[in-house]
Assembly symmetry: C2
Homo-oligomer: 480 residues x 2
C-alpha cells in the first residue's frame, strides 16, 4: 500500500495508523479490499483518498498524497555531536562530558552515535573504547579517513561500525589529498572488505559530494554497493546544496544502489534541516545530526530542528521513537559544554518558540492552538504563553486573561480596558503584573460605579490612586 525502500516494519506508518482506525481494529488491507468491492474500478483511488482525508483531519500537515520514495516516516538518526560536534571551534569534550552526552543521546533514543576517529589522538582512542563499553542501546560508530592505518585502529575499539570518508570533488582531489578516482576506488574496496571481515557495519561516504563529478560518484557508489557496503553516504561538506539539488542527487542514487543511504549536511546557508527533510523524501535512510548543529564552521543539521520538522510531518511516529521532553535537557548539556547559548530562534526550545503576541494570533490560539502551532508544546514538555502587555495586543487575548483572573467584565468593558493597555504599551511594554493590576482596578471601578466605558479620566485617576497605594505588588502566575 505505502511501500518503503529499505524499510523496517513500520507500526507507526501514518497510512497504517489511519487504516486501523477506519476499520475498527482490523488491518489496513481489509479496509482496502472492502472499498474495492464497493467502489469498483475507482475503489483503489477512493480508498487512498479516504485514508488521506482521515489523516488530514487528524494531522493537517501530513502530505495529501503518499510518496513511493519517502522515508519521512522511516529513518534513523546518526548523532554526531561526539564527532562532527568535536570539530566545532569551542568544543573540547573531556571523557566525562563525552560519556554524559552519549548516555543522554541514548536515553533520547537516537539509533546511532558517531565518535571522533580513534586515530586522531590517544585520548580519542581511549574515549572511543570507554563509550563502546557503556552498554548503550544505540549503535556506536567511528568516523575515519579512507585509509588502512585508520581502519586497523578503528576495528580494535569495539565499535559496531566504521564510517569511512574520502574527498571525491575535484577541489578536494586537487587541494586536499591529491588522489585520483582509480586510487580512491581501490583504497575504498580494500578498507571496506577489511572492516566487513571483522563482522561490523561499514559505510562509505564521499566528501563534498555536491561538487563531485556525478558519473565518478555514481560509479564508486555502485562499486562499493556490489561488494556489500552497508551504507553509502552523501556529504554536503561545504554547505552549498539546496533542497532540489539534494532531492535530485538522492533520487538518482536511490536508483543505482541497493544499500542504505546516509546524508550529512552542513549549514553554511541555513538550509541543513530542509535539505535533510528533502533527502528523506527522496529516499535516504539515515540522517547525520549534532545537538544544536555544532560542527565545523556553523555546523550541520541540528538534532532538535530535524526532530521538529519530522514531528510536524508525523507526530505519532516521532513520539514513538524519541523521548521528546529530553530535548531541552540535552541541548542545555551540550550548550554548557561548548559554552554557547541556545539560539533564541531555535526550533522547539528557542525561548519564545511558543509565545504568541499579535492580537489576531492570540485570539485564534485561545480558540484552538492548532491555528498557529504545528508543534504541541506539551509533547516536548514545554508550555504555551500568550503575551498581552504590548501595543499589538487584541481584546480577545485580554478577555482570556480577564476570565483567568475571575473578573466579570462585558465585551465592551474589555475592549475599553484593552485600549488603555495599548496606550500604556505604546510608551513601554507592560508586564503581566501591570496588565493584571490594570484589569483589577478597571473591574473594581466598574463594580463600585466609579467607572464606566469610555471614561478615560476616571480610569487614569483610579490607576494613579492604585499606584500610590501599592508599594509592593503581588506577583501573579503566568497564564496556563
Amino acid at each position: 500500500m505505502c511501500p518503503h525502500l529499505n524499510g523496517d516494519s513500520l507500526p507507526n506508518d501514518p497510512s497504517q495508523m489511519v487504516a486501523v482506525d477506519l476499520s475498527n481494529g482490523t488491518n489496513g488491507t481489509a479496509v482496502h479490499a472492502s472499498s474495492v468491492k464497493t467502489n469498483g474500478a475507482n475503489g483503489h483511488a477512493n480508498s487512498i483518498n479516504a485514508r488521506a482525508q482521515e489523516l488530514q483531519r487528524r494531522n493537517p500537515y501530513a502530505p495529501r498524497a503518499s510518496d513511493f520514495l519517502s522515508n519521512v516516516s522511516n529513518f534513523k538518526i546518526i548523532e554526531s555531536t561526539l564527532r562532527e560536534g568535536e570539530q566545532f571551534a569551542n568544543a573540547f569534550f573531556d571523557t566525562k562530558t563525552k560519556i554524559a552526552i552519549a548516555k543522554a543521546l541514548d536515553a533520547f533514543g537516537v539509533e546511532y552515535i558517531e565518535l571522533t576517529s580513534p586515530a586522531a589522538s590517544e585520548q580519542s582512542r581511549r574515549d572511543c573504547e570507554a563509550i563502546c563499553k557503556l552498554g548503550l542501546k544505540c549503535k556506536i560508530l567511528t568516523h575515519i579517513r579512507c585509509h588502512m592505518d585508520d581502519a586497523r585502529i578503528a576495528v580494535e575499539t569495539g565499535v559496531d561500525g566504521v564510517d569511512v570518508v574520502i574527498g571525491t570533488s575535484s577541489f578536494l582531489r586537487e587541494f586536499s589529498h591529491g588522489k585520483d578516482m582509480a586510487y580512491i576506488t581501490k583504497t575504498a574496496i580494500e578498507v571496506i572488505e577489511f572492516v566487513k571481515s571483522k563482522g561490523i557495519e561499514v559505510r562509505f561516504s564521499s566528501e563534498d559530494s555536491f561538487r563531485s563529478d556525478l558519473v565518478d560518484l555514481l560509479s564508486i557508489y555502485q562499486t562499493v554497493d556490489k561488494i556489500g557496503v552497508n551504507r553509502v553516504g552523501i556529504a554536503d561538506t561545504v554547505g552549498c546544496a539546496n533542497p532540489r539539488q539534494v532531492y535530485d542527487l538522492v533520487r538518482t542514487l536511490r536508483g543505482v544502489v541497493k544499500c542504505d543511504i546516509e546524508i550529512h549536511l552542513h549549514n553554511d546557508t541555513g538550509m541543513a534541516i530542509a535539505n535533510a527533510y528533502t533527502a528523506l523524501e527522496a529516499g535516504v535512510t539515515h540522517v547525520d545530526t549534532s545537538v544544536l548543529g555544532i560542527g565545523e564552521r556553523v555546523g550541520i543539521t541540528p538534532l532538535g530542528g530535524l526532530v521538529a520538522c519530522l514531528y510536524a510531518a508525523n507526530p505519532e511516529y516521532v513520539k514513538s521513537k524519541y523521548n521528546l521532553p529530553m530535548l531541552r535537557e540535552i541541548e542545555n548539556l551540550v550548550a554548557e559544554a561548548v559554552e554557547v547559548n541556545v539560539p533564541f530562534m531555535n526550533p522547539v526550545t528557542g525561548y519564545c518558540a511558543f509565545t504568541h503576541k499579535a492580537g489576531i494570533h492570540a485570539k485564534a490560539i485561545l480558540n484552538n492552538p492548532s491555528t498557529y502551532e504545528i508543534l504541541k508544546p506539551e509533547d516536548f514538555g514545554l508550555t504555551r504563553y500568550v503575551s498581552i502587555g504590548h501595543r499589538l495586543t487584541g481584546w480577545n487575548a485580554v478577555k482570556s486573561r480577564v476570565e483567568q483572573l475571575g473578573l466579570k467584565l462585558t465585551d465592551d468593558e474589555i475592549k475599553d480596558a484593552t485600549a488603555k493597555i495599548k496606550e500604556l504599551a505604546d510608551v513601554r511594554t507592560q508586564s503581566m503584573d501591570d496588565v493584571d493590576s490594570l484589569l483589577r482596578v478597571y473591574s473594581s471601578g466598574i463594580q463600585s460605579g466609579e467607572l464606566a466605558v469610555g471614561q478615560k479620566e476616571a480610569l487614569d485617576r483610579l490607576l494613579r490612586m492604585h499606584r500610590e497605594h501599592t508599594t509592593t505588588r503581588p506577583s501573579s502566575p503566568p497564564p496556563a
Copy 2:
C-alpha cells in the same frame, strides 16, 4: 535565452554574465548565434553547455542547467523587521530605534521596508508617517488586515504601498475571523480597489496558505489578479511547509496569475531559508525577511541567511544589490534592540562561521579557501581563522603557522611538533599563544642542537624551562 517571468532587466543574470565573458564584450545573443552556425543542430545545446561550464568554472555552486522559472538571480526583498519583527516576544521599538533600523536597512539596499499597521496603535501610526518622511531609497509598505477601516488609515500615512492579509485556511476561518470565502473575496476586492484608487501599490495575501483549500486559494488569487493587484502573497503562517510543497504551490500559482508573487515563511521547523530559496526557484518575485529572523514565535526567513544562500548561488548579483559588509552591523543593531545574542550558528556572522578546525579541512583551506568555503569572508567584511591548538589538528595547518612565525623547520620536525601539540591538547585546548610558544621553543631547541626529532624528554625539559622563565607571555596576533 534565459527568460524570467515578471522580470526586470537583469544585468547580473549569470548566463548573461558568462556570455559577455566568452564573447569578449559583445552580448550573449551574438555568442549564441555563432555557436549555432558552427555546431549545426546541436549548437543550441552545446552553447548552453559551454556557458554552463564556464559558469561552473567561475562558480562551482551555480546550477548546471538553467531553469525557466527561477528568480534566484532576480528578486526583491521586503524587509519586515519593523512589522513581523515587532511581533517578536522581546521587541519593543521606540521611534528612534525604528528610524535607525529603517535607515540601516535602506543603506544595506533592501528594496522594501514593511511597517506595523497604523491601525495597531496611535504610536504605530505616527512612526509610520515619520518613516515615510525620511526620504529613503527603498519603498515603504504597511501591513493591514483586509478591512476598509484599516485601509483608510493606511493610505493616509504616505506609504508607497499597502500589504493586505486575510486568513483563508479552514482553521483561521473557523477559529479566527469566522468569515466564508465569498465574504473574503468581496472584502478583498473592495479594499484592493480602494488602495489602487489612491495610486499606490497593493498586495493581497492569504494567511496560512499551506493549510488553505487549493481551489479556494487559486480562485481568489485569480480574481484579485484580474482586478489589477500588484502582488499576491503566499504565507506559511504556522511554519508547516517544506521545500517541495512550497515549490509545487508557487509553480502552480505562477501559472494562474500574471502579477508578482510574494512569499512569507515562518521558521518553526527551521526550513524558512530553504523554503524561500525554493520559492524563488519556482518563480516568486518578492521574499519577506526580518533581521535575524525575529517575529512571532521563532520568526521568519532571516535576512542574513537568505542573502547567504542567494550569494552562494550568484555572488556577483547579490554583491551588486546589497552592501554585504553592513550585514553584521545591522544584525548587531537589531540584536541589541531586542536584547538577544546573534546565534553562534548564524550564517555568515555566527562567530565561528569562518573558523576551520579539523586537520584535513585546515590543510585544504590553506591550499585553496574554496575547498571548504562557499562564502568569501572578505565579501562580508569578515576574516577567516584556522584553529590549530586542539587534538584534531594536522601538521599542514601547523606548517602554515610555522611559516607565519618565520621559523625554519623541516616537515619531519613540524610533524614531531604537531604530535606534541595534539598530546597537550588531549588534556586541554591550547591557545594560539600556547602553540606559538611551543613552536618557538621547538625551533630554538633545533637551532641550538639541544633537540632532534623524536626526543620527547628533551622537548618536555625545554618546555618546562620555558614556562619557568616566562612570567608574562607576549600575545601574538591571530593568523591572517
